[in-house]
């Protein structure tokens, strides 16, 4: 039943109606000349700028820079975080202590690391990637750790009584059992990581969508700002639809599990 409602909404959700309406209102407001152009440029300007930026490649460069950082950080930190999360999760003695500490760094993850990163690595892509890595790593590590520890012991007993060794318990019980939390951790880490990246790019680099928008505001190029903002929105919707939902559907929903990720 829940699937029916949500599916129905999403089907309609893809409808263009709402956005068309907003565009019309936007166009009317700007034509009426109530606001100066630097405040709210007409949609036609934004489209023209977007087209120009696509043609001269500047938009692609910035998208590439931002997405590149996301992918690099994900590729490095997710496997490391999942591996360490499971390793610590197995250590009954270690994990009750590491969990609150990981919780603290989880709460701290994000832009709060920027000043320290800049102190250590100076302005530039190293600091930004460090912030991305930090955000993603701790979110995934914490959720994996919690996930491993929340797998009901009954499954472990079941495998043991089937003659399963520690290896079987890890790969056939703990990892799949922790999967809902791991998936939540990854989903959250991309959400928070993406936001941290945009903020960090505004401060610490000279490429990327965050920088594009912030720099445009210094020159009052409001149309470029809107191009950047719309791009960020679209990129997130694509990531959500093409990456996050398939992972979730393939793992968690198929097994009918619900995760309690934080």
């Amino acid at each position: 039943m829940m699937r029916g409602w949500r599916g129905g909404v999403r089907a309609l959700g893809r409808g263009v109606l709402p956005f068309a309406l907003i565009l019309i209102v936007w166009a009317l407001v700007t034509r009426a000349g109530v606001l100066p152009a630097i405040f709210l440029p007409p949609p036609s300007d934004v489209v023209r700028t977007a087209w120009a930026m696509l043609k001269d490649g500047s938009l692609w460069i910035n998208i590439g820079a931002s997405l590149g950082r996301v992918v690099v950080s994900l590729v490095i930190s997710v496997p490391l975080a999942v591996g360490l999360g499971i390793f610590v999760g197995l250590r009954g003695r270690l994990s009750p202590v590491v969990e609150p500490i990981a919780g603290f760094f989880n709460a701290l993850s994000g832009i709060a690391w920027l000043p320290l990163a800049v102190t250590w690595f100076g302005l530039g892509w190293v600091s930004v990637t460090f912030i991305m890595f930090n955000t993603i790593f701790f979110l995934v590590f914490y959720n994996t750790l919690v996930g491993v520890r929340s797998v009901p012991r009954i499954f472990e007993h079941a495998v043991r009584t089937l003659g399963g060794s520690r290896r079987h318990v890890i790969f056939q019980v703990l990892i799949p059992g922790a999967m809902p939390n791991i998936v939540t951790g990854i989903r959250m880490s991309i959400g928070f990581g993406w936001r941290a990246l945009i903020a960090a790019e505004m401060i610490a680099t000279s490429t990327g969508l965050g920088f594009l928008i912030y720099n445009a505001s210094n020159f009052h190029q409001t149309d470029t700002i809107f191009v950047g903002i719309v791009t960020i929105g679209i990129l997130w919707l694509l990531t959500d639809r093409l990456v996050l939902q398939p992972i979730e559907r393939w793992t968690v929903e198929r097994w009918g599990l619900v995760s309690s990720g934080r």
């Binding site: 409602w5 909404v9 701290l108 709060a112 000043p115 401060i203 928008i213 409001t222 700002i225 009918g256």
Partner: protein
């Protein structure tokens, strides 16, 4: 060996080892002093900033802004989300718009707001409240839409009025999602606040650590980071988690 002893000893070991390595690294690493100040420097930074009255102001300003956003989120965001969610028409219209605006992080709007509101308190407030509000509204709407229809139909067969259905089924049913929306909104909001304070340069923890970096006062950066993390854990443990437990535990509504 009792469990208590086991846990406390592990805590003891981890804390002493980490502080020791930190101090050792601070003393021996061939880097300029400001790179890695020892724990003692962070402590003296705390004492200094308290004596100078700066820390209470920074913490006070940040807390004021996030709590304001939380109140706004609860008393404006939630009702708005429910309102939009109740009738299918508004829900189907609002869902894609909210989904888009929720995916554009508050910080991405900051440059535009700098143009609209300039480098001041208003820009920070708008950025933070935007970041908190949209996940709250979005999840409240989602919560209402994901209440299984059988509950609605059950009440309808009892001849319940539309208002009663909203009050007795839709709102309680949506509570777990609302709690999650508030939690997510504030998590995003807290980070957007720190970033906004850095960019706009108004008193607050974000500004504290960003400004400290300009003067190579790394001890203050670390102190600020510690407080940012600790404050969130306190907010989470004392306010957000109970909110979530109250909603989910009360109705055992972990929707499959």
């Amino acid at each position: 060996m009792g469990r208590y002893w086991e846990i406390t000893s592990t805590w003891g070991v981890i804390l002493t080892v980490s502080i020791a390595t930190w101090s050792l690294a601070a003393a021996t690493l061939p880097v300029p002093d400001y790179f890695l100040p020892p724990p003692s420097a962070v402590l003296s930074a705390f004492v200094e900033l308290m004596a100078k009255g700066m820390l209470p102001t920074f913490v006070g300003e940040s807390l004021r802004r996030i709590l304001l956003a939380a109140l706004l989120g609860l008393f404006v965001g939630v009702p708005l989300g429910l309102l939009l969610g109740i009738s299918r028409g508004t829900a189907d219209f609002a869902y894609p718009v909210l989904n888009f605006f929720q995916s554009v992080s508050g910080i991405a709007w900051l440059p535009l707001m700098l143009i609209w509101f300039g480098f001041g308190e208003r820009t920070i407030l708008v950025a933070v409240n935007y970041t908190v509000l949209f996940p709250v509204i979005f999840n409240a709407l989602l919560g209402v839409r994901s209440v299984p229809p059988i509950y609605v139909n059950a009440l309808r067969t009892l001849g319940a009025s539309r208002w009663r259905i909203v009050r007795d089924v839709l709102v309680p049913g949506a509570l777990p999602n609302i709690a999650m929306g508030v939690r997510l909104g504030l998590a995003y909001g807290w980070r957007a606040l720190i970033a906004a304070e850095m960019l706009v340069g108004a008193n607050g923890l974000g500004f504290m650590i960003f400004n400290a970096q300009a003067f190579h006062l790394t001890a203050r950066i670390m102190l600020g980071m510690g407080i940012i993390g600790a404050l969130w854990l306190a907010l989470d443990y004392f306010l957000l988690r109970p909110l979530e437990e109250a909603t989910i535990a009360r109705w055992g509504m972990v929707q499959r």
